[in-house]
């Protein structure tokens, strides 16, 4: 039975939710506001109502080309996600439906690779990339990002798959479904929200990854993270231009997140209620 909630409580919760949402969104909002300030205003301090200028966007576009790093970001984030799905879905399936004694250990071990600071393996990875000719290549970066995010993908998919009752799969088998049919017609439709939210989250993580994408690229494969980094300066004012570059860089992913939020929320809370 639903609990009766008074209007006053509802309003209270709504206000609290809005405040928390504003708090979380504020850094992005302030970046956008800063991008339409002049450089002098940007560093002068906190000010919500600036003189509106689009000079920074013009300056950013004339200094560097936005399109090439944008395309690189799209290619490496979508590419690494697709590649990751190819590996993570079968891996998570086997762990969820055909677990062994060591499955839990393997899962923990996979996650433990995320606990190591990236800088610790910079030189070995750099040497591997150098020797295999993958430095500053989109293929190299795609594989790297896929490997970085793979533990998270497997973990997420594993938890989603675990929520799917084995009995349904058994029933399919009773009806004579082959393994292929079982995966394609029974498991996949039920796991679509989980797979979609994993893929979306992975695209966001890959889009925002700033350690390897800057360090393994120079000109040809440099994505938007490198584009943003190029506007920071030790001597001279750059906050407004940096904010304009950041706004341009996050805009696509922000819009994508906005439109897919229903899918994301559904996927992230999938299995929370039985």
């Amino acid at each position: 039975m639903a609990r009766a909630v008074s209007t006053r409580t509802k309003i209270g919760f709504s206000i609290a939710a809005w405040l928390i949402a504003l708090l979380i969104f504020f850094p992005i909002l302030y970046t956008i506001i800063t991008s339409i300030k002049t450089e002098a205003e940007a560093i002068a301090g906190f000010d919500l109502i600036p003189s509106v200028t689009f000079e920074n966007y013009v300056e950013v576009q004339t200094q560097r080309d936005y399109f090439k790093p944008f395309m690189n970001s799209v290619i490496v984030s979508v590419g690494s996600t697709l590649l990751g799905c190819l590996v993570a879905i079968p891996a998570a399936w086997s762990m969820a439906f055909a677990p062994t004694k060591r499955t839990k250990d393997i899962l923990m071990w996979m996650l433990s690779t995320k606990m190591m600071p990236a800088a610790a393996v910079l030189v070995p990875i750099y040497l591997l990339f150098r020797d295999s000719g993958l430095l500053d290549s989109r293929i190299g970066l795609t594989v790297m990002l896929m490997l970085i995010n793979l533990p998270i993908m497997v973990w997420m998919l594993y938890t989603y798959f675990r929520e799917i009752p084995v009995e349904i799969l058994e029933a399919a088998r009773m009806d004579g479904a082959s393994l292929w049919n079982e995966i394609v017609y029974v498991l996949t439709p039920m796991a679509v929200p989980g797979i979609a939210s994993t893929a979306l989250l992975n695209i966001i993580l890959a889009w925002n990854e700033a350690f390897w994408t800057i360090r393994l690229t120079t000109t040809d494969a440099a994505p938007l993270t490198a584009f943003i980094a190029s506007f920071s300066s030790p001597q001279g004012l750059f906050w407004a231009k940096l904010s304009a570059a950041s706004t341009l860089a996050i805009a696509p992913i922000l819009i994508m997140g906005w439109f897919s939020q229903r899918q994301l929320v559904r996927g992230l809370t999938f299995g929370a209620v039985k």
């Binding site: 450089e39 002098a40 560093i43 002068a44 200094q63 560097r64 910079l122 030189v123 750099y126 040497l127 150098r130 430095l135 500053d136 800057i214 360090r215 120079t218 000109t219 440099a222 490198a226 980094a229 190029s230 506007f231 920071s232 300066s233 030790p234 001597q235 001279g236 004012l237 750059f238």
Partner: protein, 436 residues
């Protein structure tokens, strides 16, 4: 016969196509006004060298440093020209990571490079990087506020005068701080300023046997003086102020004096951004009568990594970007005031430049007053004015910088900060094998 002719023809055509294809060189650089201007002017280079194509990688200073260090140490060969500072050049040259610049062309006139700058970029008499712009540090002050305080800034003031003027100029009610100095922790932030200042107080990082000297009275005098002065006449929250924060404060008219890089002169005197553009005066960095001034020496320079496959094209580019002709090119397009300063003696003899840049003479005098091989009063085993050119210095400088920044913020006493600095530095230098 026909087939042979066809094959030969194809071979020669493809060889021609390969030869005609432009060779592409990748240049790693920092994001500052002079470098961006250079990127806009590269048509001049490519029209003279149609067989060379330029690719730019621009990064923030610290990211760039880390990025090019990884590449050069692993011989990754991702860059053909690198923008590096006076700190890296001697260390990297000794490691064999840089190519000597011995093929810059007959008309390059290397002798015209300001000797203090060339000295910092050479090892065993060989130039390993060509300076793109050079800088020292000096005092920028508000002439109107100085006058209001009833004082006249000498051309070469003492620290005593600066401290006295700073206290007199301070007007907390009007939000005016007598002096703005760096406080943000970092080897290239507060430690650049404090190491240079310490030189003028007779302090040094190490004695001739590499023993740290933070337990000596000279360092205590330096840090006591700095912390007291900043408490009395510095801005709020100074321990998080670096170059950019102080630049903003000065431009908004909130600083009476600011001691920092000479390159800042072009920012504070630019009426577009600065509210005090017409009220700025310049003076040499202060001294304490010990024969050394508290100014530093730095040059962003172009170097060629030993791993490059395109050394000839890279040398051509370096020669173009650091030539006298390049300075004239910038002057013709953007005016003499925008010419990258601090690299060539002939620029300072040019009457047009002297007229366009009121800070020109002061910049040259400041650069000439710094001696990287003998930075302080007592002898030292290292090279570098505001840094110690050893690989360990980046981490040591930043650790000590954090302690001094904490002392400025009042989180620890000056004595504690110095004692800890001495302890940490002694430990690290012993570990690194400098102290036997």
């Amino acid at each position: 016969m026909k087939l042979r002719t066809l094959i030969l023809g194809l071979c020669s055509a493809s060889a021609f196509a390969l030869a005609a294809r432009a060779e592409s060189i990748t240049i790693a650089t920092v994001n500052n006004g002079d470098m961006i201007r250079m990127q806009k002017l590269t048509d001049d280079f490519t029209s003279k060298n149609p067989d060379i194509e330029l690719q730019w990688v621009t990064l923030e200073e610290n990211v760039l440093r880390e990025r090019v260090t990884t590449d050069i140490a692993t011989k990754g060969g991702q860059y053909d020209v690198m923008t590096i500072g006076t700190y890296e050049v001697p260390i990297w040259a000794k490691q064999g990571w840089l190519l000597p610049l011995d093929n810059l062309g007959a008309d390059y006139d290397a002798a015209d490079i300001i000797p203090a700058i060339a000295g910092g970029l050479s090892v065993d008499g060989k130039l390993y990087a060509a300076p793109f712009y050079g800088e020292s540090s000096f005092i920028m002050y508000r002439r109107d506020l100085m006058e209001k305080a009833g004082l006249t800034m000498p051309e070469a003031p003492t620290w005593e005068f600066v401290a006295d003027a700073a206290r007199k100029m301070t007007d907390r009610a009007a939000d005016i701080n007598g002096i703005c100095l760096r406080g943000k922790a970092g080897w290239g932030e507060n430690m650049a300023f404090l190491t240079a200042t310490a030189n003028s107080f007779g302090a040094r990082w190490f004695d001739e046997k590499w023993v740290p000297q933070f337990d000596q009275p000279e360092w205590k005098n330096t840090l006591d003086f700095y912390v007291k002065l900043m408490n009395d006449a510095g801005p709020q929250g100074a321990s998080s102020n670096g170059f950019n924060e102080n630049l903003a404060l000065f431009q908004q008219g909130k600083c009476g004096m600011w001691i920092d890089a000479t390159v800042a002169a072009s920012f504070v005197s630019n009426p577009k951004d600065s509210t005090v553009a017409d009220k700025v005066g310049y003076a040499l960095a202060p001294d304490n009568g010990l024969g050394k001034r508290g100014n530093w020496l730095w040059a962003w320079s172009l170097a060629i990594p030993a791993g490059t496959q395109k050394a000839d094209a890279a040398q051509k580019f370096v020669a173009w970007a650091t030539s006298k002709e390049y300075l004239a090119l910038v002057a013709s397009k953007e005016g003499w005031a925008n010419v990258p300063p601090g690299t060539r003696t002939s620029l300072y003899e040019n009457p047009e430049y002297q007229a366009a840049a009121p800070f020109a003479k002061m910049t040259l005098d400041s650069i000439n007053a710094a001696d990287p091989t003998s930075p302080t009063v007592k002898p030292v085993p290292y090279v570098g004015v505001q840094f110690v050119a050893i690989p360990e210095f980046q981490s040591l400088g930043t650790t000590v910088g954090q302690l001094f920044s904490a002392a400025l913020a009042g989180q620890m006493s000056v004595d504690d900060a110095l004692a800890q600095a001495q302890q940490v530095t002694t430990r690290e230098m012993t570990r690194a094998g400098y102290i036997k």
